[in-house]
């Protein structure tokens, strides 16, 4: 069972390292993708476009390497939750947006495809967080 969770952690970590790397290569386009949500002013969107991909990469590496694992897991869970909320809000406002999650690869995804993948990743993160909570509780009991 421990093996299954490890594989899940590696997979999710790998997804975020890839997603972050794709966006690092074209920060201007990612800035436009963030701006498309019409939530933040441009001067914030463009600066986030430089920062968020690196945050994703470091969190993904945290999951892969098991270093700063809980911090990385927590940040990714919050990020994905915020992103799902922003996507739903954009859809509700009738905005036709591209996700920008995986650069050009996700450019033509439908809203349903976005949500399916995002919710899948969110559930994986929640499951990994839950396992960490259980492990933490067991370690506390032993001590």
């Amino acid at each position: 069972m421990k093996f299954v969770w490890r594989i899940l952690g590696l997979s999710v970590g790998g997804i975020f390292v890839y997603a972050g790397a794709v966006k690092v290569l074209d920060p201007a386009q990612f800035g436009l993708d963030i701006d498309n949500y019409k939530i933040l002013p441009w001067f914030v969107s463009v600066r986030l476009a430089f920062y968020l991909p690196w945050l994703e990469i470091l969190c993904g590496l945290a999951l892969i390497l098991g270093f700063l694992y809980r911090g990385g897991l927590s940040i990714l869970t919050v990020l994905v939750l915020v992103f799902i909320g922003a996507t739903i809000a954009a859809k509700a406002r009738g905005l036709d947006i591209t996700c920008g999650c995986f650069g050009h690869a996700s450019q033509h995804w439908s809203f349903t495809q976005h949500m399916t993948i995002d919710l899948g990743i969110f559930l994986a993160l929640v499951a990994l967080l839950w396992i960490e909570l259980v492990r933490g509780a067991r370690n506390d009991q032993k001590n």
Partner: protein, 142 residues
């Protein structure tokens, strides 16, 4: 676990600043920091009008909005029917023309995206986005 997670998160958040700042420095001249469309690619209505017949107007809004009203002589070119409309637009373009793309101010991402595609895919030079979009045109012509 809670406090350890918070501490680790703080470390990651702080560490991510370093490569982000480095990348921002590297791209400092390649990114428009103040507006999503660089000033050099924006044009006001007065500027576009001054170009006279060398300006070719492109309406990036959806078909129904174009059908309802548009800049006289403008070509409809939206991303919904990109290939079809581009084929209709291109025979009317020549290298001496300046392309002015507009959309409604609310959905002005369309003008930006259409302008970018005209530059990247159709390899057109002198493609501009109208400041204020269709709403600005209506204001100045009523």
């Amino acid at each position: 676990m809670k406090f350890r997670a918070v501490g680790e998160a703080f470390v990651i958040v702080a560490l991510a600043c370093l490569p982000a700042i480095g990348e921002g420095f590297y791209f400092r001249d390649k990114v428009s920091w103040q507006s999503p469309i660089p000033e050099s690619e924006l044009v006001t209505i007065d500027q576009a009008r001054a170009w006279g017949s060398s300006a070719i107007w492109v309406d990036a809004r959806p078909d129904d909005e174009f059908a309802a009203d548009h800049v006289p002589g403008a070509f409809s070119l939206n991303e919904d029917r990109w290939n079809e409309l581009l084929q209709q637009f291109l025979p009317n373009w020549s290298p001496d023309k300046k392309v002015v793309v507009y959309c409604s101010a609310q959905s002005c991402n369309a003008a930006r995206d259409v302008a970018k595609r005209l530059r990247d895919e159709a390899q057109l030079k002198d493609v501009f986005v109208l400041k204020g979009g269709w709403e600005e045109w209506v204001k100045k012509n009523r």
